[in-house]
Amino acid sequence: MASATDSIKEQMKELLIPYKGERGALIPILQKTQEKLGYLPEEAVEEIAKFLHISRNQIFGVMTFYAQFRLHPTGKNVVRVCRGTACHVKGGHRILLEVEKRLGVKEGQTTPDLNYTLETVACIGACALAPTMVINEETHGEMTMKKVEELFGDASKGDHHA
């Protein structure tokens, strides 16, 4: 882990060179960082905080205010579990919990091996197949615990923390 932190530190040092240590530079710096790293990791925020003499907490406030900034890297595969009404009635919440358990991450997070990012959506328009989820572009309907296991069974070995 230490080396990953160091490498982010190095990259940030370089990235920050053209900027002045002024508060106004925050948004452009955040954009540039995301461009380079794909998201805004805690270590990068730490460096920006030192550079701009503002607290990490204030930066976090700014980056969660704007929808454009990502707190987590996106995985190779994006899983979106539906939380719409129809799916909810049919137990969509339990499906979400099961996927979270299998992948070892919460909604909005990415597995440490960067294989999966887990998100939720309001309704994907396939209510007849509720409960549903989408993996990348592909819709999976009438989800069950069993189906979740089939889809993510492998992932549970390496990644889950429980």
Binding site: E42, H53, S55, R56, N57, F60, T64
Partner: protein, 922 residues
């Protein structure tokens, strides 16, 4: 500024120009509902509770952000406004599901009553720690919200309870932002922020970290300012309502914060900073806010103890006092007795202790730990200005345009002053930090000068040289107000910047830049502390500071000055009271025949003329058998003094040693008799804070067990030893006697302090308002005296055997020898051991990793502790504290003394470090 007249709700109201409509209304005693506004914060306009109708202004301007103008006509309570407010509040309350707010029974319900609305316990206002103090409820009452029509939407957030001291329940948060703003605008920690937006918006920390990880300093400001029960003291969560309140003075540091204690059943429930007290204006640090658990610690001494066959045995007061009187009597008048007074005790107690030593025991051997912290300020500033104290005020820091902070880790040691510095810097003031260590203020500094430990005379005089070279000195001030300038100027020849760069390790360009910044940004204040004073040339350091301030005319003005930050709560006072071997109260010399005669007359005894021994000299004399008995009050030299091994030898040689304290400590184990004293919360008196402000200490709790106040004990002992003039009815009467004899305290009395709040000395007469700023018209001694200085290196430099320099530092979470703070559980959860800070470069060389046990050895002793590898400590230097007796820097420190102040060289000595051979159990 001229006043403006306006009309609010048909009433004619006057307000200063620049005030807001809200301020004008409040000054006139009118209520406007508010949730986000607070007098400590900048106008914000977030909650829209304070909307008004103002003639000729469109819409509904918020009173808290609208400045008054002449002739303005304001309405605050029309039916339309109230309806609008109701709509807004109702919307707010959907996320604050505490139905009691709208229930008419809220004033009647107790926590145990059955709720007619079936509101569950966790959602009832009557069980909320903010019950009866909730501003949300107050507003809801005012705008008469009878019933909620919108559905509640529970946030369902878990309570954040992983931090020390705090519970945060953001289900109750109304997003007023007060906590975020106070932490940023006033405290300067910026540990909280608004996160996310829309319906997910919440107050929180970066990446949901704990407050501790987010940089919170647990000052409690957010708790105290939150209008709801979102952030509360965990210990107070279920404690119910206080039955009484007492305002008193913090027992920890010299900032002198005024505390409001909330007490129930003779237990302190919680503590709040007193809002309008000039010393702290409502702010506290973690020690004042959460550090008072020691008062009711089961380890408190509650009965006198007499050592019999090497064991302490409980005794009655009668037994203990008669034994002490009998043992001390033979030492009267023969200078073999010494009294050690205490910077923790009140002015009255220090006055009595020095009177006891002089009038009863006939010796001037009286001193206290100020010897170890600011005796060089006392000698240095006394010589050049005529008064040895902070020239300006705590609150005045907000007027400074520039700060030079040298040898003071202000945010750790004087936290509330540190907050002021940060607040001023946020408002545009410039900050120069000079410190070998990377202290937290470096983050806020424009320039950080990292001088070598012990090279301060060179650095400060180098700055003076650069100022003169650039022609930036204040010629008029020097000519009119100062003397000996030419000799000083000539002495600068030896401090060309190349030489200074070599001596200090600071690049000459940085010195020149800092000199320019300090000399051209006025008013500029210098803040300094132990980094300057604790040196074998401490007096020179202090004089070098004074030279710099005189050179730029930064004296006698608001926001300027030379500000020695005094350490202990009453170290200023105990010096003022003459608990020093050479002076009576008010620095009246014992060697001066007229002054001595004045005291002889007042006390009805004849007094010794020869100044007594200083603290370190007392232990040396004890070691040599010249001092045979010591009476010590509230000190712990076995942890606080340099070269502890030597102190121990000395104590063991004493024929008789009496201690009075609130706890057993590393020193009083060597005593023959220990007397239980009361804590600050169980007695009355006064403390004088670092800005010379004399403030009341009020009794809040009954004495624990058989403990007695220090002043009573001294008087009782004095009387048993035949002392006259020790029959006082109380501390107020002691102060009367002291004030009669002490010109600078002449106008101060408990009655006045009770009526007017604190008073800053000099305050010579009963109608004198006190003196916030010293040396405004003339220096106390007449002219300010420049001193030509030469550079002397520290007495012990690193060499082949001891290649590293040890310097000492303090933790924000602990105080002094830890006797009090180590009894507070959550403080130790944050910082629970003393570490050896070492630079990564040295650590690598010595194959030491973060957390390894190491042995540190000096010519005097050896200490073990775990290593903290950090760039905050410079290469070639290690840093330790003396809060933890088991990992104590003072086993190692050098007792070499400054020739004038007799202060030991705590801040530098030579050591070697090695990985500990055997693992030491934690």
């Amino acid at each position: 500024m001229a006043d403006v007249t306006l009309s609010i709700d048909g009433r004619e109201v006057k307000a200063p120009a620049g005030a807001t409509v809200l301020e004008a209304a409040q000054q006139a005693g009118l209520y406007i509902p508010t949730l986000c506004a607070h007098p400590d914060l900048k106008p914000y306009g977030g909650c829209r509770m304070c909307i008004t109708e103002i003639e000729r202004l469109r819409g509904f301007p918020t009173a808290c952000t609208t400045p008054v103008t002449a002739g303005m006509v304001v309405k605050t309570n029309t039916p339309q406004l109230q309806q609008l407010r109701r709509n807004i509040l109702e919307f707010l309350l959907t996320e604050h599901p505490h139905p009691c707010i709208t229930c008419h029974r809220i004033e009647l319900c107790g926590p145990g009553d059955i709720c007619l609305r079936h509101v569950s316990v966790s959602e009832r206002c009557v069980t909320c720690p903010k019950n009866k103090r909730c501003e949300l409820k107050e507003v809801a009452r005012y705008i008469q919200l009878p019933e909620m029509t919108l559905p509640y939407s529970y946030r369902g957030l878990p309570i954040e309870n992983k931090d020390p001291f705090y519970d945060r329940d953001y289900n109750l948060c109304i997003l007023c932002g007060r906590c975020v703003r106070i932490c940023d605008e006033v405290v300067g920690a910026s540990a909280l922020a608004f996160t996310y937006r829309g319906s997910k918006a919440l107050v929180g920390t970066a990446f949901g970290r704990s407050l501790e990880e987010a940089g919170c300093i647990f000052c409690g400001s957010c708790i105290d300012i939150c209008p709801t029960g979102s952030i509360v003291e965990r210990a107070n969560r279920w404690a119910g309502l206080a039955d009484r309140q007492v305002v008193t003075t913090c027992p920890y540091c010299g900032v002198g914060c005024q505390l409001r204690l909330f007490i129930k059943d003779d237990k302190i429930q919680r503590v709040k900073g007193e809002p309008n007290a000039p010393a702290n204006m409502g702010r506290l640090c973690v020690k004042g806010k959460f550090g008072l658990d020691f008062i009711q610690s089961p380890e408190r001494l509650t009965t006198p103890l007499i050592k019999k066959d090497g064991q302490f045995v409980a005794a009655t007061w009668e037994e203990a006092l008669s034994l002490i009187a009998q043992k001390l009597a033979p030492y009267k008048g023969i200078d073999q007795f010494a009294a050690i007074s205490s910077a923790k005790c009140t002015n009255e107690e220090n006055y009595l202790m020095m009177k006891f030593a002089r009038a009863v025991m006939g010796t001037n051997n009286v001193d206290h730990c100020a010897r170890l912290c600011h005796s060089s300020s006392v000698t240095g500033l006394g010589a050049v200005f005529g008064s040895a104290a902070m020239t300006n005020t705590n609150q005045g820091m907000l007027q400074s345009a520039c700060f030079l902070v040298i040898g003071s880790n202000t945010t750790a040691t004087h936290p509330v002053i540190g907050m002021k510095v940060r607040q001023a810097v946020k408002g545009g003031a410039k900050l120069i930090v000079a410190d070998p260590r990377e202290i937290p203020l470096c983050r806020d500094a424009s320039i950080w000068l990292r001088q070598r430990p012990g090279s301060d005379v060179a650095l400060l005089t180098g700055l003076a040289r650069a100022i003169v070279d650039q022609g930036l000195e204040d010629k008029a001030f020097i000519a009119e107000r100062c003397e000996d300038y030419e000799a000083f100027k000539a002495s600068l020849a030896a401090f060309d910047l190349d030489t200074v760069e070599k001596l200090t390790g600071v690049a000459k360009a940085d010195i020149a830049a800092a000199a320019r910044l300090y000399a051209t940004t006025k008013p500029a204040a210098i803040l300094y502390a132990m980094g300057i004073t604790q040196s074998s040339h401490g007096t020179d350091n202090v004089m070098a500071v004074a030279n710099l301030a005189m050179l730029t005319g930064n004296l006698g003005k608001p926001g300027a000055g030379v500000n020695p930050l005094r350490g202990q709560n009453n170290v200023q006072g105990s010096c003022d009271m003459g608990a020093l071997p050479n002076v009576y109260a008010g620095y009246q010399s014992v060697a001066d025949a007229a002054l001595r005669e004045k005291h002889e007359k007042a006390w009805g005894v004849s007094l010794p003329a020869r100044p007594g021994l200083t603290l370190v000299e007392m232990f040396n004399a004890a070691y040599e058998g010249k001092i045979k008995a010591i009476y010590m009050m509230g000190e712990n030299p076995m942890v606080s003094d340099p070269d502890i091994g030597h102190v121990e030898e000395a104590l063991k040689k004493l024929e008789f040693f009496v201690c009075q304290d609130i706890f057993m400590n590393e020193t009083n184990q060597f005593a023959h008799v220990i007397l239980p004293a009361t804590s600050f919360a169980e007695k009355g008196g006064t403390f004088t804070n670092t800005e010379r402000r004399v403030q009341l200490v009020r009794p809040a709790l009954p004495a624990l067990g058989q403990a007695r106040t220090d002043w009573e004990i001294i008087c009782q002992l004095a009387q048993r030893l035949g002392g006259q003039g020790f029959d006082f009815a109380g501390p107020a009467q002691v102060m009367e006697e002291m004030a009669r004899l002490t010109p600078s305290y002449g106008g101060i009395s408990h009655a006045r302090l009770e009526k007017e709040g604190g008073l800053q000395w000099p305050c010579p007469t009963a109608d004198h308002p006190g003196t916030p700023i010293l040396h405004t018209e003339r220096f106390t001694r007449g002219k300010g005296k420049f001193t030509a200085l030469t550079y002397r290196p520290p007495t012990e430099l690193p060499d082949a055997d001891y290649p590293l320099v040890l310097t000492t530092a303090r933790s924000y979470y602990h105080y002094h020898t830890g006797t009090m703070t180590r009894k507070v559980k959550d403080l130790n959860r944050i910082v629970g051991e003393g570490m050896v800070e070492i630079n990564p470069a040295d650590a690598t060389k010595l194959a030491i990793q973060d957390g390894d046990w190491v042995e540190v050895t000096s010519r005097r002793g050896q200490a073990r502790a775990r290593a903290a590898v950090t760039g905050a400590t410079p290469p070639g230097v290690i840093t330790m504290s003396f809060h933890f007796a088991e990992a104590n820097a003072n086993v190692l420190t050098n007792p070499a003394l400054d020739p004038q102040a007799k202060i030991p060289e705590f801040k530098t000595c030579a050591v070697k470090v090695a990985k500990a051979a055997v693992k030491v159990p934690a």
